[in-house]
Structures are given as structure tokens and as C-alpha cells.
Symmetry: C2
Subunit: 214 residues, 2 copies
């Protein structure tokens, strides 16, 4: 019995592992295609080709194009929120905001497609993640704004509007993903390791000095 259920679990796990692997392949392809073409411009056929699967197989794992898109967006939101941890438990703005900028810059570098899909989703009125904006993101923002307000009250930084500061952080860091193509053209090619370090340092330098932290 115990043996049986153990085997059972193993097989279920292996099965699930395969399933998850295929789903991951599809999600990666979908993220790439959605980022490059937008929801309307993306086609299931293109995603299927990129994933190396027949189109019908996509519909076996994800019932509709919108369901697939929804899965992509949700995965991105998770990554997005995890960067929030970087701001937690910091003694002051220099560490907290500095670490947050680092984390978000790293996301822009490692997951540019995800960032683009998110930007595209919001730009088009957030048709599928409206509820996230109104609940999770709203709560998160309110919490961080409170922390910033406290830092200001404690004299640890200049009195800056917390919401607009957060918008600046999002804007400056995401810009390196969403407008990565423009930046690459102006840079005369992809950003090197040194370029990325320079970008991170510049953003941190201007923002931290801008909020009165040296």
C-alpha cells in the first residue's frame, strides 16, 4: 500500500514533470511571440512553430489563445512581485530603494520579453489583469508608500511624493527592457556587461541623490 502509493506518486510526479516541461516550453515561446507581436499580432501557429509543436497540441494544454496569454501574464506578475522582497526589511532608503533598483534592473535584463508583455497589457487597458492591479498591486503600492512616508518622517530622505517616486522607479528600470531596442540602436549594439553596470549605477546615483540620500 505504502509502496504502491509511493510508486503512484513517483509516476504522477514524472507525468506531471513532463507536463510541466511542455507547458514551460509553450509558455516560453508564447512569451517571446506575444512580446514581439503583441496579443493581436501573435498567432497560435507562430507560437507552435517556435515551441516545436503542432498547433493542435497547444490547444491541448491551453484551451484558448487568451488562456495562454493569461498564463504568460500571470507568470510575469509573479516575477515582478518577487522583486518587491528586495525592498523589504531595509533599514533605510539607501539600502531598500537601491536594492529594489538593482532587482528591477536585473529583471529588465533577464526577462525583457516578460516586461514587454506586461507593458503591452497595461498599455492596452489591462484587459486580463485588471483585478490584479486593483488588489495585489494596489496593496503592494500602498504598503511601500507607507514605508517611504515613514522614512521621510524619520528624516532619512527628502520629502518626496511616495507614489510618484515609485512610478519613477518602475519607469526608469522597465525602460531598459521595454525600450531595449531603441537603447541598443543608440548604443550601437547590445549593452555589454559594463554598460549594464553603468546603467544600474547611473539610475541609482541619480535617484538616490534625488531623494536626498548620499
Amino acid at each position: 500500500m505504502t509502496e504502491n502509493s509511493a510508486i503512484n506518486r513517483t509516476k504522477i510526479k514524472r507525468r506531471s514533470a513532463n507536463r510541466r516541461a511542455t507547458e514551460a516550453t509553450i509558455l516560453a515561446a508564447a512569451e517571446s511571440v506575444f512580446a514581439e507581436a503583441g496579443f493581436g499580432g501573435a498567432t497560435m501557429q507562430l507560437i507552435a512553430d517556435m515551441a516545436g509543436l503542432p498547433k493542435a497540441n497547444l490547444h491541448y494544454y491551453f484551451a484558448t489563445k487568451e488562456a495562454l496569454y493569461r498564463a504568460v501574464v500571470q507568470r510575469i506578475f509573479q516575477i515582478w512581485l518577487e522583486a518587491a522582497d528586495a525592498m523589504d526589511g531595509a533599514p533605510g532608503p539607501a539600502e531598500g530603494i537601491g536594492a529594489y533598483i538593482d532587482a528591477k534592473m536585473e529583471i529588465s535584463r533577464r526577462h525583457p520579453n516578460g516586461s514587454k508583455v506586461w507593458a503591452s497589457e497595461v498599455m492596452h487597458g489591462a484587459p486580463v489583469i485588471q483585478d490584479y492591479l486593483e488588489t495585489t498591486l494596489r496593496d503592494w503600492t500602498a504598503g511601500r508608500a507607507a514605508v517611504i512616508t515613514r522614512w521621510i518622517a524619520e528624516g532619512k530622505m527628502a520629502p518626496v511624493n511616495p507614489e510618484h517616486l515609485l512610478y519613477m522607479l518602475w519607469a526608469t528600470t522597465q525602460h531598459y527592457a521595454d525600450f531595449g531596442h531603441q537603447i541598443e540602436v543608440l548604443n550601437g549594439g547590445p549593452l555589454s556587461e559594463a554598460d549594464w553596470e553603468s546603467a544600474k549605477a547611473s539610475v541609482k546615483e541619480v535617484v538616490l541623490r534625488g531623494i536626498g540620500v548620499v
Copy 2:
């Protein structure tokens, strides 16, 4: 003869005026639809409905969907570049960059759809305005970076990487258009006049202090 050609000119002008008016109507509708749905998600039928014209009429003025899209993007680029004047002839960064932020914030407020179309275009790899990026924008950027470098040499501002500073300016100001929906949700409604003033002031305050001005 002189009379004749004068009449001719007037009539041609009136005709042209009508044509321009219709084109403007179509362009406005197209900008709105492209901004909301992206290039792939936009349909000629939707644009036609919004413009109050039969679809076939659109194809009389703009041969293809792509030609219409191209016209929309080019118009936006013009507005975008005109804001550049705000930075010209300024004695120092406080005036020049301050005015540029004001101008770009005003664009985000008055032309949010244009900004979204531009962002979308760049995010998707700039399929139609690649040449603009490589010529006009590149030259403009190089010129402004030189000005910033000069200001730094003259000790008028902190030594900040000029390119990354420009990216920050673009990012922070465009964010209010491209992510306007997200901001409105977090703000609990559209930004009021006071909200916009607060946004402008916050961005200018943080950036200017961040580059060592004031």
C-alpha cells in the same frame, strides 16, 4: 490669367483642405485604435467606424493598413522631436532639463495615445521607424549628450552619464502616458490638474536634485 490662376489656387486649396481634414479624422481614429489594440489587434473596420467612414474610404486615403500605421507613427515622431526645442538655448541644466521634462510631461498628458503607439512600435522592434532611430534620433541624442557633457565640464551639474540621463528623462515622462491606466487605477481615478502638477514637480525635483542642481 492672373484671376484664373488665383481662383484655381483657392479651389485647389479648398479641395486640399477637405482632403486634409478627412485624413486628419482618419489619423486621429487610427491613433486611438492602434494605441488601444496594437497594430495586430487593430482592424480597419474599427478605425473606419470610429472615423465615421466606410471601410473602403479608408483605403482611398491610405492604400494599406501599414501605410496608415506608418502615417500615424510619423506624426507622433514629429511631436516627439518638437519637444526637443524646449531644451535648446538654455543657459544650464536647471532650465534646459526642467523645461524638457515639462514639455514631455505635457505630451504624455495631451497625446497619450500617440505615446502608446510609439512605445508599442519600439517594443516590437521598430519595424517601420528603424531608419528614424538610426538617423534623426541618433543625431538628436548625440547632440543633447554633448550639451550635457559640456554642462558637466562647466561644473553646472554632477558628472552623470549623459545617455542614461536621457533615458531616465524619456522613461519617467513617458511612463505617465504608456502606463497611464495603471497609474489611474492606483490613483483611484484619472489624474486631476493638481495631480499632474504634483507629478511634474516630483519628477523635476528628483531628477534635478539627482543631477546636482538646486
